[in-house]
Amino acid sequence: MTMHDLTKASYPLAWALWAIVGTGLLVGVSQTAIKAAALFTG
């Protein structure tokens, strides 16, 4: 595998990784916020 191939491959992979970690964070934060709401709603 050449340097050029690696560079080309890393662009879509980086965006895909953004999508994976971004989705994980969004799901985690929203699920946690829903659970934490129980503190104030009883």
């Binding site: 340097m3 560079t7 964070l25 659970k35 934490a36």
Partner: protein, 457 residues
């Protein structure tokens, strides 16, 4: 294995610097699992028929190894680059889980200590420091944002690991105890894959790269580096040890609260059930993560010294508020605790940018690694202070909020020590500076392309 070499990770001209942060997030969200280890505590105790203390040792070994491997691996990381470091961290973290699961299957607790604690702890330390100096180099115009991006994932790792662990324990066998081994194997595989994806994506900027249209500001503050300092010299300076005290005090105060968050809210407000208390712990995890990116980014505008004045000064007021007014209103209690833990996270994320201000970016990754020994020390001191005071007061028959007031006031005193240390940080004397033509180790050993292209924002 040349594909892992530092020279092979240099970005081409025009590379978008915003493609680098997901690599840091992938690594830190994976190793941040260590904060959710308590999810396995009951199953581990049952599997090994062991005490709280014996199971607690697993966490302690991993945090001590985190500090030691960050301290001793910092220069190796600078020399070999972030990709090789991330790959070693991924292998250590994944193998740590695998050896740990072997210990669970064979009921050998020492194998869990060796695997998750020792080997996994090395993965924690190398993974933690791997993206920091790289992101500082990509964002020289916003070092606080850079270090916030690098480290924020560690605060959020538990938020993802807790539900994942619960799901695996519930679905991989009939009982949680039987599911423990397969769950650790699965988690090791998942995290190793995610970290290797991060390693594949990470890129360092070409030597001399800077953002389009950006010019470094003249050094104006009383502590900004006028020269570059290497890691060996940095630890001989007073500012290094003052910053060590700053980090140690901030972490000692926060970690004691984090470790006791669940029982604490139920002692203050007995009507809070287990599910709502779990939600409170999750909320603190969000605060930890948000503080890392939010406060660290703010430090680019108000300066690092004033940011720590806020963490330690306002933090001391916040602890006092919880001690005296915490039982009066649950909204006040939760709001102040969220602020406290956001300062805890912010303290971790802002310290590498502070180090860059004081020592320059010459070997900032290695210096950061050495400073993290303060975390190892605080990981022992914080819980020890809170738990020993709790034991004494429980023995005297106290309960509820009264149990925590003395510990919280001890933490106020500790924060004020850090507050003073922060105010004493001064510019590093010139005798510790590198010569103008000095190059860091990692640039000595590799023939990196040198170009100064305009980078994308």
């Amino acid at each position: 294995m040349s594909v892992l070499d530092r020279s092979r990770t240099v970005a081409p001209a025009g590379y978008n610097r915003w493609l680098v942060p997901p690599a840091a997030l992938a690594v830190h969200l994976s190793i941040g699992q260590v904060y959710a280890l308590s999810v396995f505590k009951d199953a581990l105790r049952e599997r090994f028929d062991a005490s709280h203390t014996a199971i607690g040792v697993i966490f302690s070994i991993s945090i001590v190894m985190l500090g030691l491997s960050a301290a001793f691996g910092g220069r190796w990381m600078e020399r070999n680059g972030p990709r090789k470091t991330m790959v070693v961290a991924a292998l250590a973290w994944g193998t740590g889980f695998a050896i740990g699961s072997l210990g669970i299957f064979s009921q050998q607790l020492w194998l869990v200590y060796l695997g998750y604690g020792f080997v996994g702890g090395i993965g924690l330390g190398l993974g933690y420091i791997s993206p920091v100096s790289t992101l500082i180099k990509w964002f020289p115009d916003r070092p606080g944002l850079a270090t916030g991006l690098a480290i924020m994932g560690f605060g959020g790792g538990a938020m993802l690991a807790a539900p994942l662990s619960t799901f695996l324990l519930a679905n991989l066998a009939d009982t949680e105890t039987d599911a423990l081994g397969p769950a650790w194997l699965a988690m090791g595989g998942i995290y190793m894959t995610l970290m290797l994806l991060g390693a594949a994506v990470v890129r360092v900027p070409p030597k001399g790269w800077k953002p389009e249209g950006w010019q470094p500001k003249p050094r104006a503050s009383s502590l900004a580096a006028t020269g570059q300092v290497n890691a060996k010299n940095a630890i001989k300076t007073v500012p290094f040890w003052l910053l060590w005290i700053v980090l140690f005090t901030n972490v000692t105060a926060g970690i004691g609260i984090l470790e006791n968050a669940k029982p604490m809210i139920q002692d203050y407000y007995p009507q809070v059930g287990a599910a709502a208390a779990g939600g409170f712990v999750g909320l603190l995890s969000i605060a930890n993560m948000s503080g890392r990116i939010g406060w660290s980014t703010l430090s680019d505008f108000i300066g690092r010294r004033w940011t720590y004045v806020m963490y330690l000064g306002v933090g001391a007021l916040a602890y006092t508020t919880v001690a005296f007014f915490g039982p009066k209103s649950i909204i006040l209690f939760v709001a102040v605790m969220v602020v406290i833990i956001s300062f805890y996270g912010g303290g971790f994320a802002t310290i590498p940018a502070y180090l860059k201000d004081v020592f320059g970016e010459f070997e900032v990754g290695a210096i950061h690694g050495r400073l993290l020994t303060a975390w190892s020390a605080a990981g022992i001191a914080g819980p020890l202070i809170i738990n020993s005071v709790l034991d004494v007061l429980e023995g005297r028959g106290l309960s509820g909020a009264d149990l925590y007031r003395p510990s919280l006031l001890v933490m106020v005193g500790i924060l004020l020590i850090g507050f003073t240390a922060n105010l004493l940080v001064r510019r590093v004397p010139e005798k510790f500076h590198e010569h103008d033509d000095a190059v860091p180790d990692h640039e000595k050993y590799h023939d990196e392309p040198e170009l100064v292209p305009a980078g994308k924002e």
